[in-house]
């Protein structure tokens, strides 16, 4: 080694080294210049691009959900409100391991398999990126605290206060007020650009009933805020805000006392009630029984609950009042009789003889009366009172289907009432045209007879029957049934323009009297219900066949299974001289219109009139004492 060192040429080595060092220095200068150019390019040339990008990073637009409008009955009782609820949600995009997070959460917050299952199904639905998916609603303060303490190991888990729709009346208004539910995939897909924006802060939408009908009004207007967020999406401060506008409140014509009385009077039987306030056309009560608790649907119904509701033979989800189409039976007889008077095809005082059946001149077939052996001599009055079918076979035959159809149509049969609820059905009020189009057959005289007693092809919803009765009580002035008070009618031609019938007063009085005898005459079909009433009421019972009875058979209640028994119907209005309320009731398979349905009508009418009386009394006392007026008349429209 030392030998080599002696041979070393130090000057040459130093020269070589300096040359190489010079190359290196040059190399460094070049590369450093590249860096300077690079920073110049980023910070000066492309400055604007990157400033924009950093702003976009930092500032996010966040929608602010509007508060959904509340729903009140006519006395200001809440039917639908919004409750603050703390919801535990997960933003999947921020969660590393979902199963692990759920595992950690299960130690802190109570939730069961069902919640997890619902959570996963919500997760599968189409949603906006970074949208929080709820796992559990209604956290207790203790649970909120536990989650907060463990926040550090729960990335992507959020607890936020949300307003959740609540229906304090539970099953009382399930079919009419309806419910809201989580926006589903189909709805999201059907949204227009504008709607997508409107719902950007909202997770629920009206699914059925008024919640759906008045969705636009109730929803309100979405607000927005610009927030500064960090890279994990946590909001640090609000930069700018456009507050949301709450939805409009709905005030309904419903009277919860009347509604409650009706539901209780039905006492769990399958059936429906519709009560109309004649003066306004407002629906006082609309019951479909059995009912269900709409609150189940708001946050997503569990499979077991849903199967229970859809699997039930009693069809609790079905709104019988507007969707149930039943043969109206004898309940249309007063209307048919009025038509006979109007068209002057009969003299009301001329009696016919009823042997218990009716026969057309050239037909073998016997059209039976419900009463075996017949009613004997009957005029129009007793035919209504005692519901004689034979009289109406004759009357219908004399009127003919064309006049009958035209007259009945003016009471709203066979057409939508235009009520402010979705999914209404219109029943069938047959005509020659209808039969040709739908059955492909010509009209037979026998068809006319069946229409005369509300059987055959005739179908009507309880709402239609209530409207018919109200129109009758209103002496032919059609009213437009409505549920919400503060909303302009959707139908263009108003109730007044439908004022149609130029029936003589005497004819009205005649029919009213006959209907009152149904209740109050000892031979009236509903005398047992009407005899001890404190006011006069007009009514008409009806019994509708569920299965056809052959010519030579007789109806035998015991032989028929419960579900094949006749439906019991009753329509009525009161008070007789100054009608205020019209009611239609159906009790499915109840058999006797007068025995089963009439008491329900009476209960509803009595409840309503008692309230009216009470109001009138207060009105008088406050008129005497004007200072109290304000307190005693709660502003229904307020």
């Amino acid at each position: 080694m030392s030998e080599q060192q002696t041979l070393k040429d130090h000057f040459r080595e130093a020269r070589i080294f300096r040359n190489r060092l010079f190359v290196i220095a040059l190399f460094m200068i070049v590369l450093l210049s590249i860096l300077v150019v690079r920073f110049y390019s980023l910070q000066v040339v492309h400055y604007n691009d990157y400033v924009t990008q950093s702003e976009r990073n930092r500032v996010h637009v966040r929608p602010l959900a509007p508060t959904r409008g509340l729903i009140y009955d006519r006395n200001g009782i809440l039917l639908a409100d919004n409750r603050a609820s703390y919801t535990l949600s997960i933003v999947k995009e921020r969660v590393g391991n979902l199963d692990e997070t759920l595992q950690v959460l299960s130690e802190l917050v109570e939730f069961d398999e069902g919640d997890v299952e619902k959570f996963h199904s919500r997760l599968k639905q189409r949603r906006r990126p970074f949208e929080a998916v709820p796992l559990r609603y209604q956290l207790t303060p203790e649970e909120i605290a536990r989650v907060a303490v463990n926040e550090y190991r729960l990335e992507g888990v959020e607890v936020d206060a949300q307003l959740v729709r609540h229906y304090p009346m539970a099953d009382l208004y399930a079919h009419t007020v309806g419910y809201v539910g989580r926006i589903n995939e189909r709805e999201l897909r059907s949204f227009s650009e504008e709607e997508y924006k409107r719902y950007s802060g909202t997770y629920t939408i009206g699914k059925i009933g008024l919640e759906r009908q008045y969705e636009d009004l109730l929803l309100g207007k979405v607000g927005f805020e610009n927030v500064e967020t960090n890279a994990r999406g946590r909001v640090l401060r609000v930069l700018e805000q456009t507050p949301p506008e709450p939805g409009e409140n709905l005030h309904l014509y419903f009277d919860s006392q009347v509604q409650r009385a009706g539901l209780e009077a039905l006492n769990g039987r399958r059936g429906a009630i519709v009560a109309i306030e004649i003066e306004t056309g407002g629906i006082l009560a609309m019951v479909s029984s059995p009912s269900y608790d709409p609150n189940l649907f708001v946050t997503g119904i569990s499979h077991s609950d849903y199967n229970r509701l859809t699997g039930s033979r009693d069809l609790p989800l079905f709104n019988r009042a507007i969707q149930g189409e039943y043969p109206p039976g004898s309940t249309i007889k007063p209307m048919v009789a009025l038509g006979g008077l109007y068209h002057r095809v009969v003299d009301p005082n001329v009696a016919i003889y009823d042997p218990g059946f009716y026969q057309l001149d050239n037909e073998e077939r016997k059209y039976r009366d419900w009463k075996k052996g017949g009613h004997g001599r009957v005029d129009m009055n007793s035919a209504i009172r005692e519901s004689c079918d034979t009289y109406y076979y004759d009357l219908a035959y004399r009127s003919g289907i064309d006049r009958l159809h035209e007259f009945g149509s003016q009471f709203g049969l066979g057409d939508y009432t235009g009520i402010d609820l979705p999914s209404e059905r219109k029943g069938i009020w047959p005509s020659r045209t209808w039969k040709r189009q739908n059955r492909g057959l010509p009209w037979f005289p026998g068809d006319t007879l069946n229409v005369g007693i509300g059987q055959g092809d005739v179908l009507a919803t309880p709402l239609q029957l209530a409207e018919m009765t109200a129109t009758l009580a209103n002496r032919g002035k059609r009213i437009q049934p409505r549920i919400a008070q503060n909303v302009d009618p959707v139908v263009a031609d108003s109730a007044d323009s439908k004022m149609l019938l130029d029936v003589a007063d005497g004819h009205w009085n005649y029919i009213f009297n006959a209907m009152s005898e149904v209740m109050h005459h000892p031979r009236g079909t509903a005398y047992r219900v009407g005899r001890d009433m404190s006011f006069k009421m007009a009514g008409k019972s009806g019994t509708a066949q569920v299965v056809g009875i052959a010519q030579d058979e007789e109806y035998d209640s015991d032989a028929l299974s419960e579900r094949n028994r006749d439906h019991a119907l009753f329509v009525g209005f009161a008070p007789l001289n100054n009608p205020k309320i019209a009611v239609a009731v159906i009790v499915e398979n109840g058999e006797g219109g007068s025995s089963e349905a009439a008491p329900v009508v009476r209960k509803v009418v009595e409840t309503y009139l008692a309230i009216e009386e009470e109001k009138a009394r207060q009105q008088i006392s406050s008129d005497k004492n004007p200072t109290e007026k304000q307190q005693e008349l709660p502003g229904v429209n307020g």
Binding site: F17, F39, Y47, N230
Partner: protein, 380 residues
């Protein structure tokens, strides 16, 4: 003034030689370098305060690292160069041994096995090689006839390749390349003939294709692909580059102001207090701040080049050159990486990034540099 002093200062006397023998050179400190380092570390702390989310915690710890680092630097600077030249091979042998041990009993993280666990104290043997490599290669070549002959070149390459391959096996491509480079640069400075250099470069280019397909790991390929097209995977692999470029670009000429960088303060910028700290600087202090920092680095590098150029001993020259160039490579790779010119490799920004281990190695290197600087007149 004593007579002796007077005589010493007479023109034509030994003053020219003696003037280096000042207080600073006696305690083996190169004053300009020290001043520059203090300025750099001070600047680094200011940026770190902001990058760490205005948390004094990082500053305290980093200040402790600096204090320890300066002590180590002063200590290393006291070593006699001849002593280092004589015994540095031991460091090399120990380093290679530990690297082999890492592969057998090392502790892993993120799919790589880089640490030795010495009873709770984690230690990366590749750090040893960062010093041992330039020392050993400088020692080996300074004792040969220069420019080196083929046999010596070959042996040098063997010395370079052994630890590099061991580190590559961990796997840690970045460190492996940096360490190999610190050895090869000595070879270059010692006068490696150009024809070898050119043929080696040709060979590297020719082997690039097979290397891409058969040698590189998936994550290494991802890094390179991400660099070429960071937009492809915005939330994944491309996130770091996009965010750091956004931070740098949005800083503009003057910056958003200290502690006001939205990219850094709102956590959009990853690793903002370690590898990506220059992006914080660029966002908050703008191009002006970046040029300040680069200016300081250039002064340090210049000083390093001067020390190398004026050293009288081959060993010192080669060592100083290698250390200076290695520092430059760290600076360039880090800044190039953060600004999107180079793939993302885990290289900290010298004196500014938070972290103790790399700082310690760096300070040791500067200790060596100071030893070279202050002992140049003592050799024959």
């Amino acid at each position: 003034m004593s007579t002796a002093d007077f005589l010493r200062r007479l023109p034509g006397s030994s003053w020219d030689v003696q003037r280096q023998d000042t207080f600073w050179s006696r305690i083996h400190i190169d004053l300009p370098l020290l001043v520059l380092l203090l300025a750099l570390t001070g600047f680094g702390l200011v940026v770190l305060y902001s990058a760490g989310g205005a948390d004094i915690h990082y500053i305290k710890r980093q200040a402790v690292f600096f204090a320890v680092g300066y002590c180590v630097m002063f200590t290393i600077a006291q070593f006699n160069l001849s002593f280092l030249e004589r015994w540095c091979w031991l460091l090399y042998v120990a380093g290679v041994g530990l690297l082999a041990a890492v592969l057998v009993v090392g502790v892993g993280a993120k799919g790589a096995q880089r640490w030795l666990d010495l009873g709770g104290f984690r230690f990366q043997p590749s750090e040893i090689l960062k010093l041992a490599m330039p020392l050993t290669i400088s020692m080996y070549l300074s004792r040969r006839m220069l420019p080196p002959r083929f046999k010596h070149i070959f042996f040098t390459l063997v010395l370079v390749i052994i630890p590099s391959v061991l580190i590559l096996k961990q796997p840690d491509l970045g460190t492996s390349l940096l360490i190999a480079m610190s050895g090869l640069i000595v070879l270059f400075l010692s006068g490696l003939p150009w024809r070898y250099i050119i043929s080696a470069l040709g060979l590297v280019l020719a082997s690039a294709w097979p290397a891409w397909h058969f040698v590189l790991h998936d994550y290494q390929r991802t890094r390179i692909l991400t660099l070429l097209n960071p937009e492809a995977d915005k939330l994944g692999a491309g996130w770091n580059i996009i965010q750091s470029k956004t931070a740098i670009g949005s800083g503009g000429i003057t910056g958003k102001g200290w502690l006001n960088g939205t990219q850094s303060q709102l956590d959009f910028l990853p690793e903002s207090h370690t590898d990506f700290i220059i992006a914080v600087l660029a966002e908050e202090f703008g191009l002006e701040g970046v040029l300040c920092l680069l200016g300081l680095y250039i002064l340090v590098l210049t000083r390093g080049v001067m020390i190398a150029a004026t050293s009288q001993k081959t060993f010192g020259r080669l060592l100083a050159g290698s250390i200076t160039f290695t520092l430059f490579v760290y600076i360039f790779v880090n800044i190039g990486m953060v600004s999107g010119l180079l793939p993302v490799v885990g290289v900290p920004l010298p004196f500014v990034s938070y972290g103790g281990t790399s700082l310690l190695t760096l300070m040791m290197g500067f200790g060596l540099l100071m030893a070279v600087a202050t002992q140049r007149r003592k050799e024959p």
